[in-house]
Symmetry: none
Subunit: 70 residues, 5 copies
């Protein structure tokens, strides 16, 4: 049951993958349109992508903890 | 059963990942269009991303509490 | 069973995460288009984000209460 | 049960696949419109795609750990 | 159960298929509009498609490992 829980926890990555993709897509589009805004879009994109990635890492930590107990 | 609960709790991260991605996408797009509005968009984006991230942390806390009891 | 209930309760965060993301996205977009409307968009965004966040906190409180009884 | 868990963990790749696809699509479109912005779009796209790919690798690691215990 | 798990793991390919499709579609569209940008769009598209394809291969590896144990 703990194994199943680890698998389910990783499903959060489904949303994180889509989210980072959307963020990257729009950031790339914006840099393409306004290359001079690159210095401002990049840190904003970094913060957003890092916060989303953190969510996947939370799930990874929980899954690792559960797997080590299987 | 507590393990399974921890896994299910992390699923909230699925929505948080998508949400932060959408927020980052539009914030980056807006900064690209109106670079002079950067000083106003950034704090707004920070508040939104932090509130969404908090939701993932709530799930993480519940999952940790459950895992420690497995 | 109470543990499972706590996990399921946190699933509300899935919708809250998406919701806050959409709200932040459109608020950032609107400030970018009409920077002079910032003073009116910010409180509106605050109220919306706070109300959505409250939903996640309700789930968190219920989950904590359930976990302490496991 | 550990086998089933490994299978479910890989489902995170569903979102990662869509996310990388969206990011690639918009990056390609932007390069097509503003070829001179290529030097700025490429690193941004790399960071986003790498962060999304990392999410799939987290799931892969969990699945491998679970499979080795089947 | 391991057989079922192998089947579920391959579902990640559902998202990868959609993602590569979106990437290919936009890349093709962009080359059609700006044929001179072909040399820059092609490597970008290759990287994105390869990263998405890798996600499907992760699932394939897990499924193979599970099938060999059935």
């Amino acid at each position: 049951m703990t194994a199943l829980a680890a698998g389910i926890a990783m499903l959060a990555g489904l949303g994180v993958g889509i989210g980072i993709g959307i963020a990257t897509a729009k950031a790339a589009e914006s840099v393409g349109r306004q290359p001079e805004a690159y210095g401002r879009i990049l840190p904003l994109f970094f913060i957003g992508a890092a916060l989303a990635e953190a969510v996947a890492i939370y799930s990874f930590v929980i899954a690792i903890l559960l797997v080590l107990k299987v």
